[in-house]
């Protein structure tokens, strides 16, 4: 944004996040319930564990499954996004018009609330995850400083990829009434190809070959793969290159859709 210094922007974000945290604490029970609804990976873990009783599946032992799904759960918490529903609602009920009156692109309001939620979730879940990792036998990660840094980076990418794609889909509400249904369909693919139903390695070969390059992997599976130490340096390099590519692409698409959408929004004057 021209004319606004980075420092001003930071100050705005801090204020918005502060307000977001206030709201979250006010709606705390609802927010915690929301967190709990992300527990689906645990069911998948239970099923894989029952199968792994008779020996490892592929290269995954029972302990590997626990390690995998513990992080899958954590990632799902830390990358949770619902902006498509917010946008759909705001566009259709005219609340976006009010937000457009603020001297700040509305996306910052949406994002800052999501970031506040992430702070809330981080504080609540991180100790639990660490505790489980320490207490449950068989859980092991490739813990070294570099991996940790890469994990944090890849998680941030996962969050932003999920955010920006959902944001774009949500913007489609400018034109269609079923934008969130489209998001549901994308979600089905994500569950399959992002590593929730099964670690990508356990998918049929042909599917896995494609899934390795699709954005869904970088919304979930990739950071876990890093922490499980299953990636060679080449894999890492290719992985992060793909991350950068997908990120840039979706980011540009979202800007394009936002501009077009806004134009048609003001045209019919909702």
């Amino acid at each position: 944004m021209p004319g606004i210094s980075r420092f001003d922007m930071l100050k705005k974000y801090l204020a918005l996040i502060r307000r977001g945290l206030g709201l979250i604490l006010e709606y705390r029970v609802g927010m915690i319930i929301w967190m709990l609804t992300g527990a689906f990976p645990l069911i998948m873990l239970a099923v894989w564990l029952s199968l792994a009783q008779d020996g490892p599946i592929g290269s995954y032992s029972a302990g590997d499954f626990v390690s995998y799904y513990l992080l899958a759960l954590y990632l799902r918490m830390m990358t949770a996004v619902w902006v498509a529903w917010e946008l759909d609602n705001d566009i259709r009920h005219g609340e976006l018009s009010i937000k457009l009156l603020h001297p700040l692109n509305p996306i910052h309001e949406y994002i800052s609330f999501n970031l506040a939620d992430k702070i809330f979730r981080f504080v609540l879940t991180t100790p639990l995850v660490v505790l489980v990792a320490l207490l449950v036998p068989g859980v092991h990660y490739a813990l070294n400083p570099l991996n940790l840094v890469l994990f944090v980076l890849a998680t941030a990418v996962a969050w932003y990829l999920r955010y920006v794609t959902q944001y774009t889909v949500g913007l489609l509400a400018f034109w269609i009434s079923q934008a969130t249904t489209l998001q549901d369909i994308i979600w089905m693919f994500f569950l399959f190809l992002g590593g929730t139903i099964a670690p990508l390695e356990l998918l049929p070969d042909a599917v896995r070959a494609v899934a390795t390059y699709l954005p869904f992997r970088f919304m979930m599976s990739f950071p876990i793969e890093i922490m499980l130490g299953r990636l060679s340096n080449t894999d890492l390099l290719i992985g992060f290159a793909l991350c950068a590519g997908w990120l840039a692409l979706f980011h540009l698409i979202s800007i394009f859709v936002w501009r077009r959408g806004l134009r048609s929004f003001s045209a019919y004057g909702a």
């Binding site: 609804t37 069911i43 564990l49």
Partner: protein, 261 residues
């Protein structure tokens, strides 16, 4: 009898309401179909690596998936619309119009609306069950079919009771519109036979939130795997849950009337 009559009038009313939103018809049917395909596809992943899941073969698991879809239909068609409606009514104060009617408030509040299109899930679920039976070359006896129907009814009562408890919580936690979603997480466990889960989780899913009675046990009936204990326990549990949920509801209404303004 009067209440059956009322149900007829309520359902006619909500059907007319649904007709106002025609796009919903297509979306609902398409999404039901997608989710079902998704459920079957994800189950096949597990069978790529093992011949059985929790001692159930692929076609047997298919029966469970069929029942899962059937009950999804029951929940989405009959229960969810009312839950959302009640929560909204409590929030904006129009719940008073429910309480002031000379009809049992629980009946009026919890069974008034229906989303007709979601009945599709029920038929689709039945179709999967029939297909799976064919694949297994099983022809259930008349007794099995009757027991199966009885188990479905029990399952419906159990699910109804659980949903009622969740709605009732809304009297205290008005801001929780996602409470019902919590049920969805546990309900997802019903995609697989209960024998997949172990220890306390299986106990929880059998006795407390009896997902086992909704998908695994009715499937077991048709597969000839049911023990008599299951049926007796099912009846007891359904009655117990219904009683508890009804008591809780009445308690909430009394509290609503004495604690609000």
């Amino acid at each position: 009898m009067r209440y059956f009559n009322l149900l007829g009038i309520f359902y006619r009313f909500s059907f007319l309401k649904e007709l106002e939103y025609r796009v919903n018809f297509l979306t609902n049917v398409v999404m039901s179909f997608f989710w079902m395909a998704w459920g079957i596809l994800s189950a096949t992943i597990f069978f790529q690596h093992r011949a059985t899941v929790g001692d159930w073969t692929y076609n047997e698991v298919l029966m469970v998936i069929g029942l899962f879809s059937l009950f999804t239909g029951v929940i989405e068609a009959f229960f969810r619309p009312n839950v959302s409606n009640i929560i909204e009514q409590i929030r904006d104060g129009t719940f008073d119009f429910v309480l002031i009617k000379p009809v049992n408030a629980q009946f009026l509040a919890s069974l008034r609306l229906i989303v007709v299109w979601r009945l599709f899930d029920i038929f689709a679920g039945l179709a999967i069950i029939v297909y799976a039976l064919k694949q297994l070359s099983l022809v259930p006896t008349l007794a099995q079919v009757f027991t199966f129907a009885a188990m479905l009814a029990l399952g419906a009562v159990m699910v109804y009771s659980l949903w009622l408890v969740m709605v009732t919580l809304a009297f205290w936690f008005i801001k929780i519109d996602n409470l019902a979603e919590l049920f969805g997480v546990v309900y997802d466990a019903g995609r697989f036979p209960i024998s997949v889960y172990r220890g306390w989780l299986r106990a929880l899913l059998t006795f407390v939130i009896p997902i086992a009675f909704i998908t695994t046990i009715p499937a077991a009936v048709l597969l000839g795997r049911l023990e008599n204990v299951d049926l007796a326990w099912g009846v007891t549990l359904a009655a117990l849950l219904f009683l508890i949920s009804n008591r809780f509801w009445n308690f909430a209404i009394r509290n609503y009337s004495s604690a609000s303004s």
